[in-house]
Subunit: 252 residues, 2 copies
């Protein structure tokens, strides 16, 4: 399929058929992931492949019981990985300095670039995908389950399988809302109104606002989906885990 067609047809798939993914296709999806650009060609990521039913059952609660973890034939967990590169240096009498914030950020970039290539490759084969942000929410449990050593952080997981649903494209803000020619143009009440108007007027969102007995769509996010309380609780845990995994050795 044409690259632009794949990109412009993308929507998350949350229901999958039982068919497994042929080995050669899965292999090519993984190879596609490794062709993405990577900082200094260091490939600062690892990809954990889950196909075993028992493993999926154990990962299911870690992803807050999202059914697609059980349904999808393949779950890929993309980890920022500075362990392999550091070990290489250590075995070569070289002094590695990759237990720090910049290296973690570089590894996260490598990881997500590879993940998006995997998504596009999968979709070009007619497969559906969904990114699970829950990997970070339960990073500690993921680390334990996958036996992740220091300098490895599980970042996002992706379910892959043959779609058993055909949802419409998801809405997006008008392009003008997210691009800035030359300099960043900050948002004021007037531009926020203009950019969010179309979204706020969609029936699907109006229904959600009503069902939840709230005033508007923004409150659905702040009161229900991504609350300050949840975000802060998870952030505190995540910060501890990032330190435990050894990414802030230099200023301790």
């Amino acid at each position: 399929m044409e690259a632009l067609e794949v990109i412009f047809k993308h929507r998350s798939i949350r229901k999958y058929k039982k068919n497994s993914i042929p080995d050669d296709i899965l292999l090519n999806i993984l190879k596609a992931a490794t062709r993405a650009a990577t900082n200094g060609n260091m490939q600062l990521y690892s990809i954990i492949i889950t196909t075993d039913e028992q493993d999926k059952k154990e990962l299911f609660p870690l992803h807050l019981n999202q059914e697609m973890v059980l349904e999808a034939p393949v779950l890929l967990t993309f980890c920022a990985d500075l362990n392999r590169f550091t070990k290489w240096c250590l075995y070569r009498n070289a002094n590695p300095g990759y237990d720090n914030l910049l290296s973690l950020m570089s590894a996260i970039a490598d990881t997500i670039l590879a993940a998006q290539n995997a998504i596009i490759a999968a979709e070009s084969y007619g497969l559906g995908t969904c990114i699970l942000g829950t990997t970070l929410y339960t990073a500690k449990e993921h680390i334990k389950f996958f036996n992740l050593p220091k300098l490895v952080l599980p970042f996002i997981s992706i379910t892959i399988g043959y779609p058993d649903e055909d949802p419409p494209l998801t809405d997006r803000l008008p392009l003008e809302a997210v691009i800035h020619p030359g300099k960043y143009q900050d948002y004021d009440e007037k531009t926020i109104d203009i950019y969010y108007q179309e979204k706020e007027n969609l029936d699907i969102y109006k229904d959600i606002v009503k069902e939840n007995g709230l005033e508007n769509l923004a409150q659905v996010f702040t009161e229900k989906r991504y609350t300050k309380k949840d975000n802060e609780e998870i952030s505190i845990k995540l910060w501890e885990i990032i330190k435990e995994q050894g990414f802030f050795q230099y200023n301790e």
Copy 2:
């Protein structure tokens, strides 16, 4: 071009022809970026478009004088952006809680997913791209130059233009080195030897080792390219900037 062909042909392009990119193509590249998956459809990124020659001259030193910043007709700077979403909440009587580590990580994921879509879209038009990691190195200067408000972090920049070079594909580790079926299999001296052997034996790297008067390729990374000293100095600055930009309000 077929999606897989684009992915498997990717290599960074650092020399560009003078031709500018037609507006409709640039627009479609930007639209492609916005079709990537995004956490809760929040679109936690902004894309700054630099085409002005004077702007490029000012950004040139911020990217450590990499010539492609001046040569490429377009430079896109992808920023993790929790400002727009937060402002939307504030103007809607909703209580935002996005000034924290988890939200920053979610925004970074959104940002890189969008960036990789832009890269693939650009390459499907026969354009070449190169990711500049230097954006994070000089995040403070980028913030000042682009007038970035709090809750916006410049993350990566991408040069885009018609290629004026045709470099070969870059080597990658064998796929087995980066994938882990089921659980993470940690690396020991033996597996590191196996996985890095092919890379270490490439003539291009042997020459670089020799030119630098070092023992091996790992030392080229630790002594020349990504040194502990540089990484730590940049990490300390970056950490300050992340706090200054308001991403750690909750535990201060």
